[in-house]
Symmetry: C2
Subunit: 465 residues, 2 copies
């Protein structure tokens, strides 16, 4: 029943590159297990580890892969199904059959893993692993490697992280094709949201519309959907509010294909048929920032610079609305815009919605050239470094009117050379606007992934009918 | 934004009962944390621990409760929101405010917990905890209690398990009202499934219909939905098959309310408008077993006996079809029916779909009077013991034609005094049928929870239009 996304040659080639770059030792890449909800056997939907998916392609729980770089071979460890498994979960391929699907010759039972690793240690082979983000994997590595839990986190392999990062960060054609498909489904999810919203609905009813589209395409959501009338909260996962005429919905939701590739789109639209004038004004500022940022994506550009350009664009717009003032450059340098744009412009996207975030956000998004700035606002920029062809990124500027934060800054008179605090009162219940596309950096610039989705005020209103 | 399901008096009363039954020491009940999917910050939907929900009612991650039985007081440990939390996840009540909602006076930051427990240990207070089913909780308990991970699993409190089990197993009126609501939503999910199915659809399209109904009621699914044309696999979570005229769909899906209470229903229905004659014959056997079993539910009855009565009913029906033969009593005693009914008749249901399974299936479903039978089939009966008023259970007989298992038994000539192996060939691609209700044991008998749902052949076909 299980089919990897690509041919076995793709995975073999990827592992060959990894072996060359890691150079020596043994790599252990554990696949994920099922995660318990409220007892061991009632589990969340399985989500495979993305690096395991990238190199071994098997969307099956309970597998552990070994790449023995020194001896140029791979082994897949796992347990074959029992008669009870047959009854409860149906006939399954053997571990040997699974290994064959992705070009791996050796398969062994899971109980053989600990002694395999102990023998490798005795032979003085270096063992490379990634710092685990799931506690069950941390415990398992600690047992297999006979190391304390702290050492499992602390002594993970920087060489392995760099090698995986350098390989996964530039998307191949077959990966780009998958990302296009994921964005296409995500577009359908947003069209359903924009067309279905009505005053008097509850947020969860709109969640139902959006997620049903993902499921009907045999996809899942790539991350918990943000579908809210309180768009000023960046990651709002509460769905209990009723939707009122005159307000907007911010919908940030994306599909994850069975192959693991993700879409991540945001649109903000009126609950009634039309935006109000005030909503249009703010919307247009965010849209301008988005279009400006997208026009600057190209190999060699620093994503941090594009972020700052978007911040200047937002600042200029807010000045025209009378909410900000002063020299734009100085204002952005001081971080005044972060009262309204508290986060970063975007992030890498791929097999993870924040691609490779488990490898370490700083290692993925920054490098020796560009270091993370700890200032409020830009400290949350997940990607700062220089773009290369084949990078896939989100671009997602926004303006968020968080009443508690505005009040806090106002009390402190924070950066009041740049902010007209007295003008803010009438935006206290405005909410927030974010517009987000997924883009591929091409040889000469960039293009938006997936089929077109309403983005201008007119296009959104046209979809509202 | 967060409202517990019941008034603070309900939780206070429940904790008072628990304190009386545990008698002395300190109880630590950790709430659940968010569970990572593919990196730490991309998490599954939060699912609170059910015992935490029962005694503390707060559907909020990252909390730990202490019940100091010796000093008759409770403390809620947790961290208040930071400015970053405000921006990313919105304004939140303080831990003190949360504690107040459920009648707890003391609130403390999480960092105070370890020293609190160390002081208690120094004072020779016994500390009671449950064996954790989530690895992050196991690691946390190991750190807080300065005990090795193995000790956390091994030295959990039998006294606490018994006290919680005795209290949670008999549902109060307010709990029964929640269960009725959960079953009502589950009924709507099944009506949508039966009315939407069409030949040519894929299973995942039907999953989309069913789960959209749950979400539209602000519910989640209580467990991974089983929506499959291969109903012979008991817990089939693959949704990639196309639905073909002449076959059936087995739909086993239930809603979980925001309060945590669950529904768990199964219906099996034709993909075309009508069952075939062969399908009707098997369906009627399962339905007879269901109705017989439900008629026997009452305080004092052994659920194991009701299971065995259902097995005899199924055996009689299979004999009439010519698939089985011989003395019915002897056949059931030998476990011959388990070729077609490989599992148990039902289980407890409540805040967990298999209620309290995390406390230990044998402790919950069996006792000194009724011990689990290791024979294939009945070994999977999750509930054996004597029923009491207020128990809520599923009743879910089925007939499952697993080709690989039939072939295996045939080769072994297993129990061939009771099975007509030559007659099985024409059932090799039949699939499986399960029909499942949720029932409350009342003072005098039982009643089915929730609003009526099509169950007879005629009722199902009427819904197919």
């Amino acid at each position: 029943m299980h089919t990897p996304a690509f041919s076995s040659e793709v995975y073999t080639r990827r592992r060959d590159v990894l072996k060359r770059n890691v150079a020596s030792g043994i790599i252990i890449l554990p696949g994920n297990n099922l995660s318990p909800m409220n007892y061991a056997d009632n589990t969340y939907a399985f989500r495979q580890d993305s690096s395991f998916l990238y190199y071994f392609g098997l969307d099956v729980e309970g597998l552990v892969s070994i790449i023995d770089v020194d001896n140029d071979r791979e082994i897949l460890f796992g347990n074959n199904a029992t008669v009870d498994d047959l009854v409860w979960t149906g006939p399954k391929p053997t571990v040997q059959e699974l290994a064959h699907l992705v070009g791996v010759r050796d398969a062994q039972p899971l109980r053989a893993l600990a002694s395999f690793l102990q023998n490798a240690t005795a032979r003085k082979q270096t063992i490379h692993w990634l710092a685990p983000y799931r506690p069950d994997i941390a415990i398992a590595l600690s047992e297999w490697l006979t190391l304390p839990l702290q050492a499992i986190q602390k002594d993970s392999s920087r060489v392995l992280v760099q090698a995986i990062m350098n390989q996964r960060i530039q998307k191949s054609d077959e990966e780009i094709a998958e990302l296009e498909k994921a964005v296409d489904v995500s577009v359908d999810m947003h069209v359903a949201a924009i067309q279905s919203v009505r005053a008097g609905m509850f947020e969860y009813e709109l969640v139902s519309c959006v997620e049903a589209v993902a499921t009907a395409h045999y996809c899942r959501t790539a991350y918990p959907s943000i579908i809210t009338t309180n768009g000023q909260t960046l990651h709002n996962h509460y769905y209990g509010n009723s939707l009122e005429e005159g307000r907007m919905v911010l919908c940030d939701s994306g599909a994850e294909l069975p192959s693991g590739y993700c879409g991540d789109l945001t649109r903000t639209f009126p609950i009634g048929k039309r935006f109000t004038t005030k909503q249009k004004e703010v919307y247009q500022i965010v849209l301008n920032a988005l279009l400006t940022a997208e026009s600057l994506l190209k190999p060699g550009a620093l994503f941090k610079d594009i972020h700052l350009t978007a911040c200047r664009e937002l600042t200029r717009g807010l000045q025209q609305l009378g909410l900000m003032k002063g020299d734009v450059e100085a204002s952005v340098h001081a971080g005044a815009h972060a009262l309204f744009f508290q986060c970063g412009l975007g992030h890498l996207i791929g097999l993870d919605v924040h691609d490779m975030e488990n490898l370490g956000e700083d290692l993925i998004g920054y490098d020796d050239e560009v270091v993370r700035n700890p200032q409020f606002g830009i400290k949350s920029l997940r990607l700062g470094k220089r773009l290369k062809e084949g990078f896939t990124v989100t671009v997602e500027p926004g303006l968020y009117f968080i009443p508690e934060l505005m009040e806090m800054w106002k009390q402190e008179k924070k950066l009041d050379a740049f902010i007209n605090y007295n003008a803010l009162d009438e935006y206290k219940s405005f909410g927030g606007i974010r517009i987000e596309d997924n883009c591929l950096v091409t040889a000469s610039g960039s293009r938006i992934l997936g089929k077109p989705l309403a983005k201008t005020i007119d296009e959104i209103e046209a979809l509202r009918g």
